[in-house]
């Protein structure tokens, strides 16, 4: 089958690509701490990008794994669709797992102290997970209706355990462009139509070593293998996803950019639930 598909024509490149930001998107969600223990208080943040229209906000919920589906938490869709979060009954919101609204109400979740009580002692080392569910939507002008197609819904698992070496979110120090370190917040001038090597610089301890207890009771030392997702507004990447230790990709700037100033993003997943991101402001000269 794979062989034949090589002969067949596939016009997927004419469709929008995951690495091209052309609408409101949730690109990443991070919990802090990345792997809480029962009783910990967890705060959440998300990388939400909306190049075309202002971001309206994002509503946050948490549920446990047992009340989630392949699509995240089972939330009454009518709860938020009514639009004005302030008019929704507070008890109904709490019962649905509402934990915050951005901007304004930082998503915060206190992990119940008995969250792992149903697990055996050995199982608590690996733990279980909670589900975070975020709905991001664009700003809606007064008198207009929310375009449901513009709403982005995302979910993320939050591991909860008593692991001896709990996970942490990776730390990104910054960018390098063609080997040059870029100062935080700097606007980078690029030539249209030219290739540039982008590199994300991680902190020394970003790639963690941790202990995993196997089913035979033997502890095994493992090392993370982060996964990098690169995003842009215009242009192309040589590879939109790279795997540790490949922290670089080549950015092919558009020959005729539609916008003089754009952004690039990179999201780092440690594949244990830890996540971090960085953006790079660019200007075409």
């Amino acid at each position: 089958m794979l062989l034949m598909l090589l002969f067949a024509g596939c016009d997927t490149e004419s469709m929008s690509q995951s690495w091209q930001i052309d609408r409101l998107r949730v690109l990443a969600v991070a919990a802090e701490p990345a792997e809480p223990r029962p009783g910990d208080v967890v705060t959440f943040d998300a990388l939400v990008v909306s190049p075309a229209e202002p971001l309206g906000g994002s509503a946050w919920f948490v549920c446990d794994a047992g009340s989630s589906t392949d699509f995240g938490c089972e939330i009454d869709s009518g709860l938020i669709a009514e639009g004005d979060i302030g008019t929704v009954d507070a008890e109904a919101l709490a019962a649905a797992g509402f934990i915050g609204f951005l901007p304004g109400l930082t998503p915060t979740w206190a992990v119940p102290a008995d969250y792992l009580d149903e697990l055996a002692e050995e199982e608590k080392l690996e733990g279980t997970f909670a589900m975070t569910y975020v709905t991001a939507f664009p700003e809606v002008a007064e008198g207009e209706q929310l375009d449901e197609d513009a709403v982005e819904i995302a979910f993320k698992r939050v591991p909860v355990s008593l692991a001896a070496t709990p996970n942490h979110n990776p730390v990104i120090l910054g960018w390098r462009v063609d080997g040059l370190d870029i100062a935080p917040g700097a606007l980078v001038d690029l030539d249209p139509g030219e290739p540039f090597t982008l590199e994300v610089v991680l902190a020394d301890d970003a790639v963690e070593t941790y202990s995993f207890r196997k089913s035979d009771g033997v502890d095994e030392t493992r090392e993370e293998e982060p996964y990098f997702s690169w995003y842009l507004q215009e242009g192309e990447f040589s590879q939109a996803n790279t795997l540790w230790p490949f922290t670089e990709t080549v950015y092919f700037a558009p020959a005729e950019p539609a916008l003089p100033e754009q952004s690039l993003w990179v999201v780092v997943r440690d594949r244990r639930g830890g996540m971090a991101w960085a953006s790079l402001a660019i200007r075409f000269i």
Binding site: L6, F7, S14, M15, S16, G72, A154, K156, P159
Partner: protein, 890 residues
């Protein structure tokens, strides 16, 4: 003026004519022959062609003679088991009074009867009756006294020679050799030799004539006191392989059996000369998705149909990509396609059956064939030896080189695709006069595919699916077919075989699946023939096997239901083995209750499926089957069947961790059909058949699976498939052959009683194929195939929810499963070939053009990353595939 029919001199042999055996049910006056290898009532191969013993010269039509018109009438002769001609039809008329004259003469022919393994059988043959004006008639020349001298036995030999067919170097009998201007005539013997005596010295013109061959003229000088020798190379007007039979059709328990002749197959566009691919142009067979090569027969799942080679089951019939089958076409004798209603000799499947029979006729002279096309190259050697060529042999091998060509068509982006395959087949056959006949066949094939990704390329957040992907499968079989005739009433058949199948899949460094399977099969049966009206056959379809498998996964399947994509996984490795066993006895009784046995044939049979699968679990099923054929009118047959068909769970459905008992049983199909066959003249046959298949106990995923105590699969599904199939076929008589087939069908499934019915994944409402090929002069052939099918069902999706951890979108299903369809598929394929014949070898050049009109046929839906946009994988573009074949005889 002397007039005569030139074919009057060709009355002693039938060799060299295109011999096409056509449906001829029920002409046997002798007891029905014993069963053929493989199964009860199976169509047995002929071991001896009918030979013309008595030729009758037709008078040359006066008007044609006066107008100096020549012609050839193509006849279809029905020959009974005594060799008498019982019916003559004109397949290709010549007009001018030739047709009537030829028919009247042919009715008086006498043949030696055709024989299969059991003895004489009725057949029908194509016969070209040629009318050629002799030189005297054409040129007004008159024989002189030298002609009389040339016929004198006392005179010395002055001119001699042989007639040899170009390309094949076969001697040709029954050529009329006429020497002008003296008018001396002689006919070549079986070795192609001829000689004339007493011709005086001088220059002469030799004119060699025989229907089916180009007339040859050659000038020779005869020197006083010497014998002049001349080798005459003659060119056959049609190099269709006379050793390959067309449809040979006797009474059968299989209501719908469509047999493909190799001569037809080689000319069908878009098939690369592969007989198995032709099945997909026959009624009941849905179009397989691009590159899959699966068989989707009468609304059945691909895994519900089984493919056999000489009765041996094989798991794969196609090489990678589905372009070519795993048996070299030169080693294929025929392909039986049974979409349904087949007898109890076949089992363990609820879908259709395809039985590929290897060649059972081998050339007298050793042949070497070589073929090369865009995908692979291969060679074949065929021949026979011993007394009366009782020992036949064949060997073939092919090797693909598409891995060397593919990079030229792919972008140099670090990704590489390396597909490779090879196959081989060998066969030895003994078919002597003794009651024992046997053959040995060994074959095998190996396919590998490696997809290499560049370093650092991430295929997703799952760390265990990174890296290269590779797969391999191979199959080997060694089988023996043995037949013994025990007098007038009994015949025995046995075909033991041993084989191995290997399949492996590697995904990155973490997924490794390997299965090695060894099987021992025995098909054996005993057939008792009481008389023309009653036969009974009892058989066994035995299989025993064991399998070793290795499973290496990045996670423990015991926790499969609770996979957490961000949890650490513990690699899992399992090495185990399993055994299986199934004897499957069967019985079939054929009864023809009326005085004329042709009028009504009834078949009743049953099969017991008993399988022991891993965990010592037993699957037991009883399959009664019944069929009938009624000859309502001459040329009109009404037929029908009904029966039960069971198949055991697929191997992957039999897996339970920790040796837990397998709780799934056999799937069942109750299949029925009724149809009519109508012959319209000797060349055209029309069949219409309706079918209904009720599917129960279908194995589906357990929707209530919650823990390892639950079975992964349950027999909760049901289904139904029904439709009408029509085929109108022009037999390969004369220069034209082809068919138009159309299937109107519907196939549906329901996974659980409280769920909705939905269309089967490959449900295709309309399936239309039209195939035609025409032989032009100068050994040119052109052909075309038109195919139209309804698009496969699809399920609609819309913008999904983003799984941040896995960097993927979960799509929302916005409609019922399989509630939409791909656009219809249509394609035109074309082929043109030209045969070049040289003295000692032949060269066939051809070009097959797939999708010649560049139909943009969607094969699969492809959504973008978030399911907001949709496009299609288009089908193949215009693909011209040139190739050549070389044949040399030694």
């Amino acid at each position: 003026m002397k007039q005569r029919s030139a074919v009057g001199r060709f009355g002693l042999s039938f060799a060299g004519f295109l011999c096409l055996v056509l449906p001829k049910a029920g002409l046997a006056e002798e007891p029905a022959p014993p069963q053929a290898p493989g199964a009860v009532e199976e169509l047995p191969p002929l071991v001896k062609d009918p030979a013309l013993l008595q030729f009758v010269q037709a008078p040359y039509p006066e008007a044609a003679q006066a107008a100096r018109i020549e012609g050839t009438v193509t006849l279809v002769l029905e020959i009974d088991a005594t060799g008498a001609v019982t019916r003559v039809d004109v397949a290709v008329p010549a007009g001018n009074g030739f047709d009537e004259a030829a028919v009247e003469a042919a009715k008086q022919f006498k043949f030696s009867p055709a024989e299969d393994a059991s003895g004489p059988v009725p057949v029908a043959v194509e016969f070209a009756y040629g009318f050629v004006l002799d030189a005297a008639a054409v040129e007004g020349a008159r024989p002189d006294e030298a002609a009389a001298a040339a016929a004198s036995a006392e005179a010395p030999i002055t001119l001699e020679g042989t007639v040899v067919e170009m390309g094949t170097r076969r001697p040709v009998a029954d050529f009329l050799i006429r020497v002008e201007p003296v008018g001396a005539e002689v006919q070549t013997d079986a070795e192609g030799r001829w000689q004339l005596r007493g011709l005086p010295a001088g220059t002469y013109t030799i004119r060699a004539v025989r229907p089916g061959y180009d007339t040859l003229q050659k000038s020779v000088d005869i020197v006083e006191g010497q014998a002049t020798s001349a080798r005459l190379w003659v060119r056959n007007q049609s190099y269709a392989d006379p050793g390959i039979l067309g449809t040979y059709h006797k009474d059968s328990a299989d209501v719908t059996r469509r047999t493909i002749s190799m001569d037809e197959v080689r000319r069908i566009p878009g098939t690369f000369g592969d007989p198995v691919r032709v099945i997909q142009s026959l009624p009941g067979a849905a179009r397989a998705p691009l590159g899959s090569g699966v068989l989707i027969i009468r609304g059945s799942n691909p895994e519900d149909s089984r493919v056999y080679v000489d009765g041996m089951y094989i798991p794969y019939i196609y090489h990678l990509g589905g372009f070519e089958s795993v048996i070299n076409p030169d080693l294929v004798g025929s392909v039986d396609y049974l979409p349904g209603g087949y007898g109890p000799q076949y089992g363990r499947s609820t879908g259709g059956t395809v039985d590929v029979a290897t060649r059972n006729r081998f050339p007298e002279r050793t042949e070497l064939r070589w073929s090369t096309d865009a995908l692979d190259s291969g060679g074949v050697v065929l021949g026979s030896f011993g007394k009366e060529d009782q020992h036949g042999f064949g060997a073939a091998a092919r090797l693909s080189y598409i891995d060397a060509i593919l990079p030229a068509f792919l972008a140099d982006d670090g990704f590489t695709v390396i597909p490779r395959w090879w196959d081989f087949q060998t066969k030895y056959q003994y078919q002597g006069d003794k009651p024992d006949k046997f053959s040995v066949i060994a074959f095998g094939f190996r396919d590998t595919l490696l997809l290499h990704t560049p370093d650092g390329y991430a295929q997703g957040t799952d760390q265990d699916t990174q890296g290269d992907v590779g797969t391999e499968y191979n199959t080997y079989r060694l089988g023996v077919n043995w037949d013994r005739s025990l007098g007038k009433h009994w015949a025995l058949h046995a075909s033991p075989s041993f084989g191995s199948d290997y399949a492996a899949l590697d995904i990155g460094d973490a997924f490794h699946l390997i299965q090695s399977r060894y099987t021992f099969e025995v098909r054996a049966d005993a057939k008792y023939t009481l008389n023309d009206h009653f036969t009974a056959t009892a058989g066994i379809d035995f299989i025993a096997g064991w399998a070793d498998f290795v499973i290496e996964l990045p996670f423990n399947p015991a926790t499969f239901a609770e996979i957490d994509p961000i949890a650490d996984r513990e690699p899992y490795a399992l090495e185990d083995n399993a055994t299986g066993f199934g004897p499957d006895p069967w019985l079939n009784v054929a009864w023809k209750p009326l005085e004329n046995p042709d009028t009504l044939a009834l078949n009743a049979g049953a099969r017991l499926m008993y399988v022991i699968i891993p965990g010592e679990n037993e699957v037991l099923a009883f399959d009664p089957r019944f069929s009938f054929r009624v000859q309502a009118l001459p040329g009109t047959v009404i037929k029908g069947s009904t029966g039960l068909y069971h198949q055991p769970p697929q191997p992957f459905q039999q897996y339970r961790p920790d040796d837990k008992p397998v709780e799934v049983g056999a799937e069942q199909a109750w299949a029925s059909s009724v149809g009519i066959e109508q012959s319209i003249g000797p060349a055209i046959r029309v069949e219409v058949e309706g079918f209904y298949k009720d599917l129960t106990d279908l194995i589906v995923g357990n929707r209530d699976f919650g823990s390892l105590n639950d079975s992964y699969f349950v027999n909760a599904g049901v289904g139904r498939a029904y439709g009408v199939e029509v085929i109108a076929r022009h037999e390969p008589i004369g220069n034209l052959f082809g068919w138009v087939s159309y299937t109107l069908s519907r196939s549906e499934r329901q996974d659980y009683p409280d769920e909705e019915w939905y269309p089967f994944d490959f449900d295709q409402t309309h399936i239309l194929s039209a195939v035609a090929s025409y032989r032009l002069p100068y050994d040119l052939s052109v052909g075309a195939k038109v195919q139209y099918t309804t698009g496969n069902p699809t399920t609609p999706y819309s913008l999904g929810v983003y799984d941040v951890d896995q960097d993927t979108y979960m799509a929302f299903q916005t409609g019922a499963g399989n509630s939409e369809r791909l656009p219809a598929f249509w394609a035109v394929s074309a082929r043109i070939d030209k045969l070049f014949t040289f003295k000692s070898w032949q060269l066939l050049l051809y070009i097959d053009v797939i999708n010649a009109l560049h139909g943009e046929n969607p094969e699969f839906e492809q959504y973008n990353y978030d399911y907001t946009e949709k496009t299609y994988f288009a089908g193949l573009p215009i693909i011209p595939s040139p190739g050549f074949e070389v044949k040399v005889e030694f």
